[in-house]
Symmetry: C2
Subunit: 345 residues, 2 copies
């Protein structure tokens, strides 16, 4: 594994350019003519020169690596997010170093300590309970932390971009109330998850505004099988619910399959089902799910902008940015007249 | 962004342990008692000590970072793979640095050159056409490359773990032939993809063994909408196919939705549909898709084993490992008697 050292001076000499030109060629975003770049890349390839990003990171304090810590990727929503985030950062000359954690089993603080051992330029924490304490420790180390799809406490030292899950939950309540539903059930996600807590709070607030209360509540934990079991349980009563709001699309699909294929009820004639996220499968004809659209690309773009603003331009952290997503009306739920021509509440 | 330097000696002194104990605590996989680890972590936190993995990587030639270059993540199959791979490497003290590339638009060789600028310990290339040339260049740099879900040319300098897509395609042909189908159609993926090429070759070879030829062929490019269009086109004839093999599950779902909801045909009474991959959605009641299971976890484990064997134990690259996946019989296709009690061909 011994690595011979070829210096940038040797490359510059062979390419017939200055050493700073060689350096610029290997610095993402630096200005250099196409012709010079070609000459340098060719000379570098011939000599086996490799600019040492890590050595450079020790000198400049930049590794151009962004840490991403995610709770789990199984939810169909995250893969797309990860791809967009990787691409967006890559365009700006950064790459993503992934840390997968299990919020239920792992010692999350310990993982964040370990991540610090890597010389990352910044950290993005997705859907994880990051404390102000930890953010402060990272700040001391010069590593900005931006939350992503996270819930925020009212703490100005935290900075992040998220979807407004409370508002989304309330929109669903308005929609189901307008549809004249009387027995409205809720299928909860993992009880500790911020998305679950905020969506339910908004939903209940919305129902209350229409003098409605929850008819029944099950817990699916964002898991397909658990969501099916919870649905069976909620519908195994003399008068089953006439509407079900699932805290994410993944559980809505599970509920729909159980309602149609096991319980023999029709959707939306007997039961309206509404989800949350608007994952690609939601638009597939088998489900055609009415759901709240997450403005995912917008959230990704803003997260990258905020984080790189702090890293590159020493901007002040932007605080909390909360983005609203529209209700996408499809055919899994009864459509009230007021919504027939609209896609938003 | 200034970072104060706290040395491991200072941490050792405060914790009342040796400097080598401090070093072991921050070396993944190194042996250290829980009590010592706690004392060291506490002292390190109090002093704000952070072991510099990157500085260490320059000395030891190890960053404990594995590069992963993937073509695209939108296929529902990859997210799960990525999660398992991250977790498996994380257990061994490594983390994944992601490079997303678009095989159609990007200059793939250039991306591989750029990846070399990072001091990665190894590279995993997923479903990408990596040339022996590039692998050789990485070898010179001391960076082993392992392919993952890739197609191999007969070149012993390449090393990797893959699923046997040819065998899988042939299994589907055997299954459909045993079911007595006479008009068998094929829905192709992206024509340049190795998975597409090998699955189709195996499928055609299998049909030929039963004196069958393809009734019709459409191209869905692994895309939902394109798969729907191709299905419409193939079925818009006087005598439509009585069986369809889609090159992956994602396209099989699209085809099923089109066949049932647009064309009004029954599955499997009028048309049998078979997919490939066995993604989670395949087992959902709405699809209940017969498909070839990818031995994904096994492939991930072997890939990690092969790569870390080269990195940590200087093992010789293991060549090509090809894993076979079983046919999972569900209800989207007519079940021949011979398969009624079996899950494999």
């Amino acid at each position: 594994m011994a690595k011979e050292t070829v210096t940038s001076t040797a490359v510059a000499k062979r390419a017939g350019v200055s050493q700073s030109a060689v350096s610029r060629v290997f610095t993402p975003g630096a200005s250099v003519s196409k012709k010079t770049a070609e000459k340098v890349r060719k000379a570098a390839a011939e000599l086996g020169y490799r600019p040492n990003r890590l050595a450079r990171s020790l000198i400049k304090g930049q590794s151009r690596i962004i840490g991403l810590v995610v709770a789990y990727l199984e939810n169909q929503f995250y893969p797309t997010v990860l791809e967009k985030l990787s691409q967006s950062l890559q365009k700006r000359g950064y790459h993503v170093l992934i840390f997968v954690t299990n919020i239920v089993q792992d010692d999350f603080d310990k993982i964040l300590e370990e991540i610090m051992d890597y010389q990352i330029d910044g950290l993005i924490a997705a859907s994880l309970p990051v404390s102000a304490d930890v953010v402060q420790r990272y700040k001391v180390e010069g590593v900005p932390v931006v939350m992503f799809f996270n819930r925020f406490e009212a703490d100005d030292t935290l900075c992040g971009v998220t979807a407004d899950n409370f508002k989304g939950g309330r929109k669903v309540a308005n929609f189901l109330a307008a549809g004249g539903h009387q027995r409205i059930a809720y299928l909860a996600g993992h009880e500790a998850a911020a998305t679950q807590i905020d969506r339910e709070a908004g939903f209940l607030a919305g129902l209350a505004e229409h003098q409605l209360t929850l008819y029944s509540r099950g817990v699916g934990g964002f898991d397909f099988q658990k969501a099916q079991e919870a649905t069976r349980h909620m519908f195994d009563v003399e008068t089953p619910p006439d509407a079900l709001f699932a805290a994410n699309d993944h559980m809505a699909f599970a509920a729909m399959d159980t309602i149609r294929f096991e319980l023999g009820l029709r959707i939306p004639e007997d039961v309206s089902v509404v989800g949350y996220d608007d994952v690609p499968v939601a638009s597939w004809p088998s489900y055609d799910l009415t759901t709240i659209h997450q403005p995912m690309e917008h959230i990704v773009d803003l997260t990258v902008e905020v984080l790189l603003g702090i890293i590159e331009d020493q901007k002040e952290p932007a605080g909390h940015i909360s983005l609203d997503g529209p209700l996408v009306v499809r055919r899994s739920a009864r459509i009230p007249d007021a919504f027939a021509s609209s896609q938003d509440s």
